[in-house]
């Protein structure tokens, strides 16, 4: 078994200080579906004490959360040069 954390550890990233994806707290608080918790292939959305937390470190830039989110998720590609560096695309 390979935990998702271990798998993300195989990938090279240049992490920007600011996130390129910004969930809106009040929208997430009232969201009933919360599909982000399982559709994100990097498992970057977490539920803690009833609140959704997102960590952009480890983002694979697929866009699944943007498409799946029933609310309007603020989503941009990272700034030029930042984010994931795939070697075996």
């Amino acid at each position: 078994m390979e935990s998702i954390e271990n798998r993300l550890g195989l990938v090279s990233f240049t992490v920007d200080s600011e996130s390129h994806i910004k969930p809106k707290e009040e929208k997430c608080d009232n969201c009933r579906l919360r599909v982000c918790l399982y559709v994100c292939p990097a498992k970057l959305y977490r539920l803690e004490e009833g609140k959704i937390y997102f960590n952009h470190e480890g983002c694979l830039e697929c866009g699944t959360c943007r498409v799946a989110c029933p609310e309007e998720l603020e989503w941009e590609y990272p700034r030029g040069g930042f984010g994931v560096h795939y070697q075996f695309g």
Partner: protein, 415 residues
């Protein structure tokens, strides 16, 4: 600053096709890629149909090709069993490549031809009349812009060139790459060094829209799962988890055994076929190509996107050249629109319009996959007394024969 005839946004297959072709035709073209290096944002399953590169790229035989696909395998999986069909040929029309390396090679060819390729810069905006792009606080004006920004159409949406994808129109693909020796891959997959295998899987672990894949590279193997986003949402499929379920199924694990995972990646795949193509592919002299336009064909057995992407870039390049030669550069967008609508890409997507309905039918991914595996089990599971084929089939198809025949007929017609 140089005045560019055209600016290409994005250094994937579509953008590189456009930049390469324009440079070959003597145009002054600039390609801007957001990744620090070309190819490092590109992800796909693993196979490219070669025709477009053979036709358009000089020296294509020197491209970084991992293996030519000589074996096509379709595998139906349930929890513990599998049924495979293999087609083997000594000729090949497709190859497995590492898209990062392959795109880097294409970018070098574009540069050799005279294109200016800049990476590490994100285009923040594209403007119309006159066409220009905004990046790094600068505006660059040109005669035409080709937006080949990939499947997430952030710029195209802002320009009103297309709407965002709905969950049922895209699938999320997750890929794991495993390091194995070349000899080990050859013996495990029963191929020679330049020969490769493309293996698609249906059924376990998702039993809904999508499936698994394995592609053989030279000394790595790519394996993963593709799940339509709406199915993942509706069935609460944990995407990071299903790829592990797939990897650890005994009939998948057998191919990966002893290999160490060296990369994990994810990417969206347009899966709406002809229905995912926007009504217009241009606005003024700004045009969209590749995944941004939705040029991917999924027939169930095969999925092709990289060849269409590159070809759409070529069509964009040729449209700009044609418009310039006519002395009316402002007509490039319309010429592109006409060319694409008449092209192989749209013909193919149109031809397989009905495949969308077939692949919408989840019975193929669940019920019929299990049924087929069950029939094979009934034939081969001999414990003293054997079952007649007739009895096995009658038993497994009980109460659903008519629906099954109709479904199979639709598959024959659609795929």
């Amino acid at each position: 600053m140089d005045r560019f005839d055209a600016v290409v946004v994005g250094g994937g297959a579509a953008g590189l096709g456009a930049a390469y072709r324009m440079a070959e035709n003597g145009l002054n073209v600039l390609l801007i890629e957001r990744g620090e290096n070309i190819g490092e944002k590109s992800v796909y399953g693993g196979r490219i149909y070669s025709w477009v590169f053979e036709e358009y790229v000089k020296g294509f035989r020197d491209a970084p090709i991992e293996r030519w696909v000589r074996k096509e395998r379709m595998t139906l999986l349930d929890e513990k069993e599998s049924v495979s069909i293999e087609y083997s040929s000594d000729e090949s029309c497709s190859f497995v490549a590492n898209l990062t390396k392959f795109n880097r090679w294409l970018a070098e060819r574009a540069e050799d031809a005279g294109a200016l390729v800049i990476s590490g810069i994100k285009v923040e905006d594209v403007k119309l009349n006159p066409a220009k792009i905004v990046a790094d606080g600068d505006e660059i004006e040109c005669d035409a812009v080709v937006i080949a920004e990939g499947v997430n159409p952030m710029l195209a949406m802002r320009l009103g060139l297309r709407e965002d994808w709905k969950p049922e129109e895209v699938a999320v693909g997750v890929k794991e790459v495993f390091k194995l020796s070349e000899d080990e891959i050859n013996s495990r997959f029963d191929v020679e060094s330049d020969e490769g295998v493309a293996n698609l899987f249906v059924g376990y672990p998702i039993f809904t829209h999508g499936g698994g894949f394995i592609y053989t590279n030279k000394d790595t193997v790519s394996a993963g799962v593709v799940v339509r986003v709406d199915s993942a949402m509706n069935n609460m499929i944990e995407v990071y988890d299903v790829v592990e379920k797939f990897r650890t199924h005994r009939d998948v694990a057998a191919f990966l055994k002893g290999g160490s995972m060296i990369e994990y990646s994810a990417h969206l795949v347009p899966e709406a076929g002809i229905k995912g193509i926007p009504n217009t592919l241009h606005k003024g002299n700004v045009m969209i190509a590749g995944d941004t336009a939705g040029f991917v064909l999924n027939r169930g057995f095969t999925i092709r996107g990289v060849d269409f992407a590159f070809y759409s870039g070529i069509l964009a390049a040729d449209s700009i050249k044609e418009a310039m030669d006519k002395g009316d550069v402002s007509s490039a967008g319309q010429i592109y629109e006409d060319k694409v609508r008449k092209s192989l890409i749209l013909r193919e997507l149109e031809r397989f319009r009905k495949a969308l309905d077939v692949l919408e039918n989840t019975r193929f991914f669940d019920e019929y996959t299990r049924m087929m595996v069950g029939i094979m089990n009934g034939i081969f599971d001999v414990r003293k007394e054997s079952n007649r084929l007739y009895d096995v089939v009658m038993d497994k198809t009980k109460g659903r024969k008519l629906r099954m025949v109709l479904d199979l007929l639709s598959a024959f017609r659609g795929l």
